[in-house]
Amino acid sequence: MSTKPYRLAEGGSRIDRSRKVTFSFDGKDISGFAGDTLASAVLASGQKLFGRSFKYHRPRGLVGLGSEEMNALIGIGVGSRHEPNLRATQIEIFNGLSAESQNRWPSLKYDVGAINSKFSRFLPAGFYYKTFMWPKSFWKHVYEPFIRKAAGLGKAPEGRDPDTYEHMHVHADVIIVGGGIAGLTAAEAAASTGTKVLLCDENPVLGGIADLTAGMIDGECVADHAATVAARLAALPNVHILTRTTVVGHFHHNYLMAFERVGDHDPAILASGAPKHRLWKIRADKVVVATGALERPIAFANNDRPNIMLASAVRGLIGRYGVTPGSKGVVFTNNDDAYLTAFALKKAGVTVRVVDSRARPDGALVKRAIAEGIDVNLGSVISAVEGTSGVTAVKIAAYRRGQGRVITEKRVDCDFIAMSGGWNPALHLWCHNGGKIEFDDSLQSFRPKSHTDNIVAVGAANGTMSVEATLVEAQALGKKAKKFIVQEPERGASESLWFAPATGKYNEGNKHFIDFQNDVTAADLELAQREGYESVEHTKRYTTFGMATDQGKTSNLNGLGVISEATGKTIPEIGVTTFRPPYTPYSFGAIAGSLTNDLFLPVRRTPIFQWHSDHGAVFEPVGQWRRAYTYPQASESKHEAINREILCVRNKVGLLDASTLGKIEIKGPDAAEFLDRIYTNTFSTLKVGKCRYGLMMNELGFLSDDGVTARLADDHFIMHTTSGGADRIGAWLEEWLQTEWTNYKVFVTPVTEQWAQFAVAGPRARDVLSKLGPDFDISNEAFPHMSFKQGHFGGYPVRVYRISFSGEMSFEVATPANFGQGLWNAIMEAGDEFGLSAYGTEALHVLRAEKGYIVVGDESDGTVTPVDVGMEGMVSKKKPDFIGKRSLEQSFLKGPNRKQLVGLLTEDPTDVLPDGAYAVAAVKNKPPMEMIGQVTSTYMSPTLGRSIAMALIQNGRSRMGEVISFPLEGGKVMKATITDTVFYDKEGGRIHA
């Protein structure tokens, strides 16, 4: 092993050697330079080990250079700021960063879980489907808990998130995904036509792998050219550039999601108020996929050892960070591109040898390598790797395509391997929304074929690997192409290499990893084929190949190659698994954006909301509204408060905030006829100035809403709906007018929020209102029950409805919302001498239940007809058609044994039937018992001093007086007598007081 420092004396385009940065990794302080990634800095410190694999806990090091990394997954931050599973290759270091390795115990170096590796022979793909079945109860109590212990990679954070997230929408004529040479050129070309161009790149710096690409453009090296173009783009007004922003998904109609890491790389940015992540919702006319290509690993025995990396990653470590993985390397390749890595290593003073599976490569780079005296083994493969937590040597064997096993091999010392199995166009975005792809033999990979959306792929993402052709392709986005003079090395053909054979019998003991993170080997894929899991989707699901956090970025094609060799089918015949968003994982925080805590679903507030809150109200969500449920005073329980409020209404007077009730103005010559279609009962006969209670059904014949509608003028009504139904009914009326009865001349305007509306209810209600100085007569004679008036209470403009949901004399007073709080206060003050108090929704519910009034949603549940709840009289027989009428004729709806609404009085008046309790035909020792109906509302009535309930019971109305049984939890059986539903003031005199 070399003792040479891993940080080279010079070089590193991304780092600033004058700025030292210190961070911790597994509790150990490590220094790097500004611009380092966690990967480069840790490697520079001499540590090769970054993590442990999922299944066998094998020691793993870096493989990639960027988001394709599958091994070096790291947890960042502590406590509530901890984030698991981040790629070391993408983490930009800063002072104070705290990082830790994952999926190991007690430490990364000594990991107990590594024992799995010893038993790997017994743990082939899908082994768990074949065992852990006996004895039956062991799965839940023994096997699964054991398996679950081993689940997962990183740890979840703790507690609430201290950071914020947000969404941002943007529209562009063209979105370019990827800021490499293809994307930059495409952006400039597109921008030259004056269109709005959005350019997104996942890296902190534009240029893609221009710095790792050989050649010259107009006399500049590719990286310099890219930097020049990037600078020009940055100055253009019609170009918007987002870096550290990964376009994670492409959806219908060119909708894209992009994930911006705003503050991850610098705590100072977060501290200044920026969100941690921003999710960009992008709508583009045209999408340009310039996502480049991903280098493939090679499947050779023990190819997962730390310090076996992709050739491009090694090249990038040297060029960008001045870091080398070791002092003696082997480049293992089937293509020309990896020779650039050999040159870079040689230039950095690292001893290097090339192992090339091709027998007679003839590209310029190969010739140059030989000419420069680099040791090149042609027609060879690496057949074995020595070393466990690193590489100490490799064995090199002669290779012929299709060869099964290795006969002779030679051992060569080395401390790292740079591998390259070729390049796969990054097709993910292309495929997210159904893009078709085709296999390209010369690429040994898939490339884009066709798409129904307005989307194109350019450069390496399109399978175009040369610089010159990429420029031409990208320039097609603009009007006229500038001619670039490009010099680049001539490339020889690559040859596919899906599996490098090893010594001994059929890969015994040698693990050729395909999916590194999930520990899926070539043998696993072959086993899946033998067992009949032949569809590539079956293979994937059976072996978990391609299902790790890298979603198969580097493994998919190698897997297909192995399956192809095992089955004799071509890769296109095998097919690919579906590419699913996201391209790389992104935070749930970003998806939720700002809509957390107090912004998670709006709370609707009535004009009196603050008052309720200030007066100790307990709130209840009703739709999006918060309504005051009850107002407990100092030492009161909720129950006591509710009882007090009820008795106050019954005996004195109460005030209820009913502002949430839906209110809809309906006007036009056909308004009355329209209402006759909407309600089950008739409204055309309603007199001006009068109110009528109406029932609505849906077309299925079931109750959908109810409320009081008043006739303001011959052609003008105001409808009240339930609080939850306001928006729905408003839209429902519009729908019928626009789509079915288009000849009706009716306008509908919902005005719910224009009005604050209060119920003033109780025997002293009129006394209270009289004190407010009404400018109209509110006596019972002038203003009887079910009538309507408008005028003023003092200075307050009011609409007053003499309607009641409590059974008491009641006035519903509406005033414009901004006067609501003032009028509320005035009523409170006026009511003081009469003992007025506010009451909440629960008191309201008890009050109405005492009177047997239904609540749509309590007494009905979406399967209940007006007839079921005893309101047959409100279902017109005369009107030829109204909504739901025909469905009431369906055999089941008018059939026998319908559940009918009845009242219930428990035998023991102190027994309150539980909510939703079921009555049975006969009580048995144990279930099942035949159920005959259920409680819909149940309360202890303070007015009556006993419990009351309503219930839907089979044939209930013909069972008056019958005692039925409710077997409850714990064996208690409550008995109750069936009665009618009106428990209080059956004559109804109080309403008319």
């Binding site: 914020t164 947000e166 969404h167 941002m168 929408h169 943007v170 529209h171 709005k196 253009l236 007004p237 019609n238 170009v239 918007h240 200044s272 108020g273 920026a274 969100p275 921003r278 919702k281 709508r283 700002s594 809509l595 107090d598 912004l599 679903l601 709006p602 709370v603 609707r604 507030r605 004009p607 603050q610 999006q624 509204w625 103005e665 006007k667 036009g668 010559p669 003008h716 001349k745 306008f747 305007t749 005005v751 719910t752 929020e753 224009q754 009005w755 100085g773 209470f793 003092g794 200075g795 307050y796 414009p816 919302a817 901004n818 006067f819 709080q821 003032g822 009028l823 206060n825 005035a826």
Partner: protein, 195 residues
């Protein structure tokens, strides 16, 4: 005689000084929701006789005359803006003029809360909650658009390049205020393209 107490939805809210835009409630505005058919000449001329100008017929357009404004909401719906104190008389005039014409005019002055946003980044701030391309030419001064904003329905009126009024139902005023306060905070500015 009671002296009526007026309290708008955001009466107790003042924008914090940590915002990159300015934000305040407009409460002294009267609003009338007017329904009628744009194709009904009698209706259009009756309204003109009251307002003094033609109702805008083009989608998302607005017209103004003195302190009166008409915002297009639909082919048969407009929102008429006026000084709050004049709402009653204007409504009465409209109703008189429209007495025999199929129409519906309702005072909705209290139904919505209006928040005025001013500053260079108002459009981007709103685009954190709206999917509309508010920096495009479709949203020049005078444009009216109903939209989904964050989780609610809202109406947007572009008053000037950097001045936008957002109308939301009164019950959502607090939610809207909270959303905007978060979206517009300093440090979280987004500037799209080099506008």
């Amino acid at each position: 005689m009671l002296e009526p107490q007026f309290e708008s939805a955001l009466a107790h809210r003042a924008a914090p000084d940590t915002l990159s835009i300015s934000m305040r409630e407009i409460s002294e505005r009267g609003m009338i929701d007017l329904r009628g058919l744009a194709t009904d000449k009698k209706f259009m001329s009756a309204v003109k006789s009251v307002l003094g100008f033609d109702l805008p017929k083009a989608p998302r357009a607005s017209t103004s005359w003195g302190d009166l404004k008409a915002l297009w909401l639909s082919p048969d719906q407009w929102l008429i803006l006026c000084t709050r104190s004049k709402t009653n008389s204007l409504l009465a005039e409209l109703n008189a003029a429209l007495a025999k014409i199929h129409s519906l005019a309702v005072d909705v002055s209290d139904m919505r809360a209006i928040i005025r946003l001013e500053g260079e980044s108002v459009r981007e701030t709103l685009m954190k909650g709206s999917s509309l391309d508010l920096i495009s030419d479709d949203y020049k001064a005078g444009t009216v658009r109903r939209m989904r904003f964050a989780e609610i329905a809202a109406l947007l009126h572009v008053v000037e390049e950097n001045v936008i009024d957002i109308y939301v139902f009164r019950s959502y005023a607090e939610y809207t205020w909270a959303f905007l306060t978060k979206a517009a905070r300093k440090g979280a500015e987004v500037k799209l393209f080099k506008r």
